[in-house]
Symmetry: C3
């Protein structure tokens, strides 16, 4: 079966939607869940859902690894007309997953204890993001 | 069903093969497409297919993130007998996806408007690359 | 069908488990294998299984790309109470795959000649790691 999850973002950062996926799978049997983010400037990530500092540290690291286009070290970028966060968003989307495959037992994702599913927004402005989901 | 796509590369860069995959899936129903690149020195990527500068900026970024082995900052590398682009290619293959999962509705991949499927060649010399595909 | 692979690690590095997966699939038909690592401080990787220097070079590169939290360049990290290798492990787990999809023909994974499946341990202390597997 297929569905689509919608996530509204309010700036760069991690947005958890584990609960929405869990509810969609409730009552199903064994199988495989696949998620695909339908954009090229945000990512999917499975990360720790316990300490929120993990999420802010992740964002801080990736902002240093891929600085904004108006940073001197990024002067070689040419795709910049949508703003200094445009091309870095595409680069981050190449560094983090666009799709995830998650085995499911008796309608429950086989995630580890501390794993949550996140959409990672790389753009500064608010966006409506869509994630395609397949289960079989 | 299974198939294999062949992509001939002529140096480092992105090679789109969305059209080949689209044609293979035509006439199928709902399901899941999975792609796997059968090499350790190239990658798969879903990226923007509108502005070609996104692709050249991506390549420029990753060449700076992972310089050739004859760059002073990479002097610690030991797997260098195939040339200065050999080990950096393996590193890039660890940073970008080796497999992709794409939900399909009525024979059409649920990609976003601006998403294309690319093989990313990390080696300088021409190569014949193979991508295994599964749909069910 | 579902199973779980267990991998005991003895410090950071790559641990191959291609053989265990191959044996589990023996006798099956065509299909799709999906692997998911059930932790947020290690990764899955398909990489070259011929020259062990590829593996040590990979580890050396990622240790420079994501230095320990007690390195001056990482002073901004806040999630550090589990030690200097804690948050860098989460960052590496965002940079390398958490799940892999591998097409299978007649019970054999369609890996390339030089591709092996690895668990990449990012922590220094020994850990018991679990990988969920689905085949259908």
């Amino acid at each position: 079966m297929l569905t689509e999850f919608s996530i509204s973002t309010r700036g760069a950062g991690l947005y958890e939607f584990t609960g929405e996926v869990t509810r969609w799978l409730a009552g199903q049997g064994d199988g495989l869940l696949t998620l695909l983010v339908r954009h090229t400037s945000c990512s999917l990530l499975i990360q720790e859902n316990a300490d929120p500092e993990v999420q802010s540290d992740l964002t801080a690291y990736f902002d240093r690894l891929v600085p904004p286009a108006d940073h001197p070290s990024m002067a070689y970028l040419r795709h910049t007309y949508e703003g200094p966060d445009d091309m870095p968003a595409h680069i981050k989307a190449a560094l983090m997953p666009v799709s995830l495959g998650i085995p499911v037992r008796a309608g429950a994702m086989l995630l580890g204890t501390w794993q949550g599913i996140y959409l990672v927004e790389h753009r500064r402005a608010p966006h409506d993001r869509r994630v395609a989901a397949h289960f079989a």
